[in-house]
């Protein structure tokens, strides 16, 4: 690799490699009339070429997202206003039914129950994950090197485990007859009524197991991201705050938290999004022998509607609206604060 000579500051230029001028709005008209005959110089043509080039660079990614996500999204939205069931699968044209699918879904108390459950599950899991993750990140920054390394390795192991392997082990841990959790609760801890407890039959107990698994899986990400943010807080600032008489608690809330706020924002936003759309964990636990109707969250409910495409489409649209509603506040703030 050739070493770039950084010893010569100044704007790049010269005949050898004319840098493209910063192409901003005033050049817009030259974009429409590229390379007019009266301006044969390369400089005049350059902005147009680089502009077109830029869009070519964006094209593959934009096209892939449009095909894999955009088109299904539009299609789902359109279908949610149609009657599209099994008959249409066999070639009958779909009929427009306006908002009927939505009114049918939203007048069903069960839909509201699923929405309420999902929002509650999402908030409980996001709050628990954030609280535990932040606490462990702060602990990581406070302890000595050996303890920190130990903690990091443990977190990484949990984070790196594929979700299906994780789900498989947790089913075994919570197994009714030979599961080690029932044994731990009954033998060393003396709760003998837990010896052969079926964790997945009761909805609350089912959600407890799901929460344990989701939080266990999500915490390491929060820990590492927040810890990386904590490292960026300058030591001088903390010392200055200490000299000014702030105790550890005050230093944390008045210095550390405001400084890592951008990281906390992003992480909290991602947790809410991920916990609202949780599917795999719920689906696998349901397959392990839970009553599905009592334990559906949005993802599994949509999956269970799969045979009625329009209903599934309407429900998915409702889910999207819910996600946007829950995250609008965050997104607005992020867009405002961030220089994109």
């Amino acid at each position: 690799m050739p070493r770039p000579s950084t010893g010569r500051p100044g704007p790049p230029g010269g005949a050898a490699a004319p840098a493209p001028p910063p192409d901003d709005a005033p050049h817009a008209d030259s974009e429409l009339t590229p390379a007019a005959p009266s301006t044969p110089s390369a400089v005049r043509r350059r902005p147009w070429r680089s502009r077109a080039g830029v869009y070519l660079l964006l094209l593959p990614a934009a096209a892939a997202i449009a095909v894999g996500l955009g088109y299904p999204l539009v299609r789902q939205f359109v279908i949610s206003f149609q009657e599209y069931g099994l008959a249409q699968q066999f070639g009958r044209p779909a009929e427009w039914v306006g908002l009927r699918n939505y009114t049918e879904l939203l007048s069903d108390p069960y839909t509201w129950q699923v929405i309420a459950r999902s929002v509650a599950f999402c908030l409980v899991n996001a709050v628990l994950t954030m609280a535990l993750g932040m606490a462990i990140a702060v602990l990581m920054a406070k302890v000595g090197r050996a303890a920190r390394m130990t903690l990091q390795v443990g977190m990484l192991l949990a984070w790196g485990t594929p979700v299906l392997a994780t789900m498989t082990v947790w089913q075994w841990l919570f197994d009714t007859q030979y599961g080690v959790i029932n044994w731990l609760l009954a033998e060393p801890m003396g709760m003998s009524e837990m010896r052969y407890h079926s964790w997945l039959v009761e909805p609350m107990s089912f959600y407890f197991v799901a929460t344990v698994i989701v939080v266990w899986m999500s915490v390491p990400f929060v820990v590492f991201t927040v810890y990386a943010g904590l490292l960026q807080v300058p030591a001088e600032t903390m010392e200055a705050a200490q000299l000014d008489g702030a105790n550890a608690w005050k230093r944390f809330w008045l210095v550390t938290v405001p400084m890592v706020k951008p990281v906390l924002f992003v992480v909290a936003l991602l947790q809410i999004i991920w916990d609202l759309r949780v599917f795999t964990q719920i689906y696998v636990l349901q397959r392990a022998g839970a009553p599905t109707r009592d334990t559906h969250l949005l993802g599994t409910y949509i999956y269970s509607l799969a045979k009625e495409f329009s209903m599934a489409g309407a429900m998915a649209t409702i889910m999207l609206a819910l996600t946007l509603a829950l995250t609008a506040f965050y997104v607005r703030r992020m867009l405002r604060e961030e220089e994109l």
Binding site: P9, V54, P72, G154, L164, V169, G229, R277
Partner: protein
Amino acid sequence: VSNPTRTAAANAPQAVVGRWLLGALAVAICLVWVFPIYWMINSAFLPTNRLRTPTPTFFPVDGTLSNFRRVFGDPTFFASFRVSLATTGLTLVAAILFAFVAALAVSRFRFRGRKSFVVAILVVQMIPAEGLFISQYQMLDGWRLVNTVVGLSIVYVAAILPFTIWMLRGFVSGVPIELEEAAMVDGLSRTGAFFRVTFPLLAPGLVASGVYGFLQAWNEYTLALVVMTDPAQRTLPLWLQGLVEANRATDWGVVMAGATLIAIPVILFFLFVQNKMTAGLVAGAVKG
């Protein structure tokens, strides 16, 4: 200049005890998080008669390899391995290539629509894919791509791209444009300067995004469940779920051996590159 009173305080007996307590707490938390993984490996080495006992066996002393032998004797394991490998490979090549050029455009050029593109990338990540799978299935079905590696890869690429662009954009912005400009002053073309100066510095970022994409595609379950309905086209996570459903309550040993075989290579891979991924995320999210 360190504060003398602080050093004295750190050496005081209570402070030392406090440090030890915090250290012990850290180790205890680590144990809680590691235990499920330990238990998976432990059980994988135990024969069924030692798993089905009133008191669990905590250490696989004179364990057995028979569970692993049974997994390796299962031809569907290797078939699924091949499907997973093909899907992940195809997804990665496309996603990294597309994301790289897009990240380049976003962080190295100023053009109309740039900000909208970045906002779109951010917003797209909020679309709950778990609500889209029905129409994704229908789309692939219409193109006769259900139960094909190509079909699954199409939806994977779209799912992975936004975050990969977001992450790579942080890495590209992290390489000062002045380096490129200096090389251009020295007579390299813009393209030459990019490939000879910036590109080598981006290698860690590309590796990190590649690993992110690999983990996402390799471990993905939901879309695979919807798209790969034919048992012959199962990816490894689907294969493992099939193994669980066939052996649940009868033979946890073989299930744990399957889970261990799937998990260990991924965990090792992950340990190897995790810090670069976190750095990329923080850079993409915070630095702009």
